[in-house]
Amino acid sequence: MLVNPDFVDEVKRSEEFNASACMNCGVCTAVCPMGIELLPRKLFRYVLLGIKDRVLENVETIYSCLLCRMCEANCPAKVRIAENVRTLRYYINKKVFKL
């Protein structure tokens, strides 16, 4: 598994990307209407750890998120989940889809 500690800097556009505030409690997954298991906690963790391959394997999940913020409304750590998802999309649009 390739780990790249600079990956998070490559992804984040500003301090708005606050994935590190996540304490992995799992509330977001429990309330997500799409039943998204990976987002946000696991995927954000992959970004923070720099496991780029894992992030790129999960493109469908990243684009399936409704940005409905049900998770955010319940998150005890005030993680800006929807904005973080958009940040990942921005990165993938540019780097993977070359848009």
Binding site: E60, L66, C68, M70, F97
Partner: protein, 324 residues
Amino acid sequence: MPLPTGETIGILTDNLRIRNSVLPISAKKAAGWAKSLDLPKGGETILYTGLMYQLIPYIAAMSKAQEKIEDSWLAGFIKIGRYLNKAINISAFMAVPSKNMRAAYNQILVDIVRLLRRAGVGFGYLYGEELYSGALVYDLGMDDVFEAHARKVYHLFKKYGVKKVITVDPHSTNMLKSVYPSFIKEYDLEVKSYLEVLAERNLEPENKLGMEVVIHDSCVYARAEGVLSEPRTLLAKAGIIVKEPADAGKFTFCCGGPAESLFPKKAAANAGKRVEQIKKAAKNGVTMCPVCFVNLQKAAGGEVFLKDISSYLAEAYCAKNSIV
């Protein structure tokens, strides 16, 4: 087969960049609803439709045409190709929406005008020059194209001397009220949803409707813009007993619509779950977003009777058939 995500985003973005809308329709079709309303063009206060209510019937027609192959309405674009779409507006050749559906969605905008007039609010409209807000492209994370488009919209408002904008749907409200200011430093427009404008005016109803209606809050109004009490106050005063479904208010359950362009099956599954919650609370329902409306109505299949909030409100607050 799921759509190729990158290609789909590319096509939607090209459309916004080249034709100012993710699904371009003619100016005549977009502004036709206002034909006999005598709204002034432009002005300090304008009604901004953001084209959402006008676009939904076109999207629905395309998605119906695609249903047989279980694809998104965008599949037609994909097949012909992004390259060709850049040169020719493919949407011009695509499915024709039903007259009834267009009339129903246009009536929502007419009812909003009737309500605002009843409340004594003066406003203009930009007719065929009005531009889509760019919401979908923002959600897909195409921020560079989105920002350029947001500036175009802002400059158009400035050209017409606009200072206050009245919006009609949650997505456009969120873009103009909260998202544009984060991209445009000098942004100085005052933006309010028509529901907020009406709630401030303390209208008295002409008729009390006397019925039970389940409220489906839009995620965007509820969690991004805090528009929660306004629809409830307006409905209650109209004589409606507002029933709350499971997952209501700030914790409203998404209709699934935002997944429609890339993953239509996921969108439909989500809408189905929401309809189950709604029908447990009452048989009539109310939505306040065109995306929720179309998505839930499709899933309801006659089990719940849904209306846009403007329809209930116009029935209660406006004299029958009034347009002034």
